[in-house]
């Protein structure tokens, strides 16, 4: 688990300047955490990096950004350490480099996934079955997606355990986890401390655009996830099989979820084209964009598929949608998707280090 020393050293150099200044204390969780230390271990820097939401408030307020000789760009320094920390903790380690190539990996997996799903739906088409199950049996879907969902999560759990050790985390307390969930749920760290939002798409202008699009993405995703879960429960517990009607739980959760996810990811992608890439990790930009677009395609194909129910287009729409979902699941530990888990870990760690405060 070797992180790049020069990235950590540069972040440390900047953190030491920040620690002598402290003007940004009110922006986010990073600064109180930073000001608590006098010297920064590699684990401290890794913790700060994963606590940083890249809101950029500190960059635009900084009196020491280039051309000043101190050349501070804390959002970028922390973004580079953050990306590197995910690679360093990736398990199995051989997949770590997918982080830098997640755009390519996604495209490749997506093609493969689509081809596989299409071949299966054509080649192993069930004798009978309603709706989507007319193309692929429930048993086959479960056989593919249960491991494709659970194995990456297991890999991520190994990564997170390593990360927790790196940052020196102790026993996880429920109160800390609750604090972290509340903070993430409200995206408190993108509110800018004053509640005006963050700096992203228009230099030093504060806005809630990124926070709100992220909220739409997060809650859209969770609703979709809940929709699938409710379908699973209906199927196995109550023996109620798909297709489900409009007023069923899977649809009531999934439709707004898919819609939110579409809007949120489209918004995030649009904002990303406006923002200065020099304030993030340049090597991560492509992968992050690919991830946002993948989520968009997952939700868009899901919605279109529902609209196309009963038409011939399902024959290729279903494999396409399933292919995107498969890609998303498989790349979870090696793409931007992992940030949510590391962020929660960092917020939990931070909650354990500081006195309770209003979130």
């Amino acid at each position: 688990m070797q992180m790049l020393a020069d990235l950590i050293a540069e972040a440390r150099r900047q953190a030491e300047i920040c620690n002598a200044c402290r003007y940004c204390e009110g922006y986010c969780s990073v600064f109180p955490a930073l000001h608590r230390e006098r010297a920064f271990s590699d684990g401290d820097i890794t913790h700060l990096a994963n606590l940083c939401h890249n809101c950029r408030g500190c960059y635009y307020a900084c009196q020491y950004t280039a051309p000043h000789e101190f050349d501070l760009n804390l959002p970028r320094a922390l973004a580079e350490v953050r990306q590197d920390s995910w690679k360093a903790h990736a398990w199995p380690a051989g997949f770590a480099n997918l982080f830098d190539r997640s755009g390519v990996a996604m495209a490749a997996l997506l093609s493969l996934g689509f081809a596989l799903m299409f071949a299966l739906s054509q080649g192993m088409r069930p004798e009978n079955g309603a709706g989507f199950y007319a193309y692929m049996s429930h048993g086959l879907m479960a056989a593919i997606f249960a491991p494709a969902f659970l194995l990456p999560l297991a890999a991520l759990a190994v990564s997170l355990r390593g990360y927790w050790r790196t940052v020196g985390g102790g026993a996880v307390r429920w109160a800390d986890l609750r604090g972290a969930l509340a903070s993430a749920g409200r995206m408190r760290n993108l509110k800018g401390g004053h509640g005006d939002g963050c700096n992203f798409e228009d230099e030093d202008r504060f806005s809630h655009a990124r926070r709100h699009f992220h909220q739409a993405t997060l809650y859209g995703f969770l609703l979709c996830f809940a929709s699938t879960s409710s379908g699973t429960v209906l199927h196995y517990v109550f023996g109620v099989e798909a297709p489900y009607g409009l007023f069923s739980l899977p649809k009531l959760l999934g439709l707004p979820g898919g819609f939110l996810l579409c809007v949120g990811t489209a918004g995030l992608a649009w904002l990303k084209t406006k923002a200065d890439p020099g304030l993030g990790a340049p090597s991560a930009w492509g992968g992050e964009m690919a991830f946002v677009l993948l989520l968009f395609v997952v939700s868009a194909t899901g919605l279109i598929l529902y609209a196309a129910t009963g038409t011939a287009a399902v024959a290729w729409l279903l494999p396409l949608h399933l292919g995107t979902v498969l890609t998303l699941f498989l790349l979870t530990p090696y793409s931007k998707m992992a940030h949510g888990f590391y962020r929660l870990a960092a917020l939990t760690r931070e909650a354990s280090r500081r006195p309770a405060e209003p979130v």
Binding site: A20, C21, Y23, Y27, R38, A66
Partner: protein
Amino acid sequence: MSETWDIAVIGGGNAALCAAITAAEAGARVVILEAAPKPYRGGNSRHTRNFRCMHDGPLGPLVESYTEDEYLADLLKVTGGKTHEGLARVAIRSSEECLPWMQDHGVRFQPSLSGTLSLARTNAFFLGGGKGLVNAYYRTARKLGVTVLYEAAVAHLERAEDRIVWLDYTHEGKNHRIHPKAVVVASGGFQADTDWLARAWGPAAKNFLIRGTPYNRGVVLADLLDQGVEQVGDPTQCHAVAIDGRAPKFDGGIVTRLDCVPFSIVVNKEAERFYDEGEDVWPKRYAIWGRLVAAQPDQVGFVIIDAKSLSLFMPSVFPPIEAESIEALADKMGLPPDRLRATVDAFNAACGDTSKFHPTELDGVTTTGIDPPKTNWARPITEPPFYGYSLRTGVTFTYLGLKVDERAQCSVGNRPVANLWAAGETMAGSILGQGYLAGFGMTIGTVFGRIAGKEAAAHANAS
């Protein structure tokens, strides 16, 4: 198009922006001529962090109350009475209404920063510091239609009798002449012109570091004084503090401060102590150390502490020089090792009972039989590793400026210049004759910037 301005505001810091915003809200067409390029806009305001504010009861981030009389008393204490009381009271009284005005114009505050709790009652801290404030004001000014020109260096204001008739500036390699109806000068002092500083203070000033912007070169100030505009403030003096000797020549700002003097001994390049390091708590004493260091050979000092004091002060921007023995530390710092040893030994021998040591209070832990004494926090320097910092004089601002009345208007002889106002550092010498009170520069800039903007707009609208 150059003929269409009602008001030219010279400078791009807090006072200039407050003037421009106020004038634009009164309907005037305003141009800001900022000498710095955009990344360095905002003059010394970009290095500030708070605003000293009178208030009757909790206000914004401020707790309890801070009355006009207490505020004035604090000011008189630091200026030793060198204060124009009338103008000071204008600044103090108006500060209370300024805070909500600042919020209305985009400035955001935060709770008192860690390490500055002593200011929680008197000073409102800007979220993100002064550059955050400056950014917010530029956004507001732009919304109000104010034109901002960066790298626009004003060379000359032509005075004819009681008026400014035109002004010359360069921008993008070209000379321009405009005839605004009114002019607000808010372009700071002259501290970044080290030749001028050396003429005023003496050749030693060449060794001073400038804590703030390199663009405050006093061009407009000199131009107006040459034309007989009334001046104020001691032309030879500047406000200076002792800062980390490794700081950049310009723009080092807040991070270059060192708070370790009370827990140290400070020696000159001969390794001799020269002043009581424990005279008072550091915030009350850090200003005099600029002068003390300036009076030493090569204008440099050296702080020596030991391991037990390292965590008692705010972290420094550069790590201290570290060594296992006093002699090795002296070597690393370019000091004569045997003489530093002798100085430390003599100091240690003069230390007595240290059981009452208290880092944040005047603890009376003093030396005996040594000159100069150390009258508080006098603990022997015995515990390795030993740490050292070099100290240099860091200039914050100069006192020489334009004399103004309560309406921020400049004058020649006894007569006002009908269309010339001044705000901020360039007229602060009227109120701050010497010394400095934390956050008061921003108060002067905000109050008199707003007054200048209002008066200039009234003049422009009437003519």
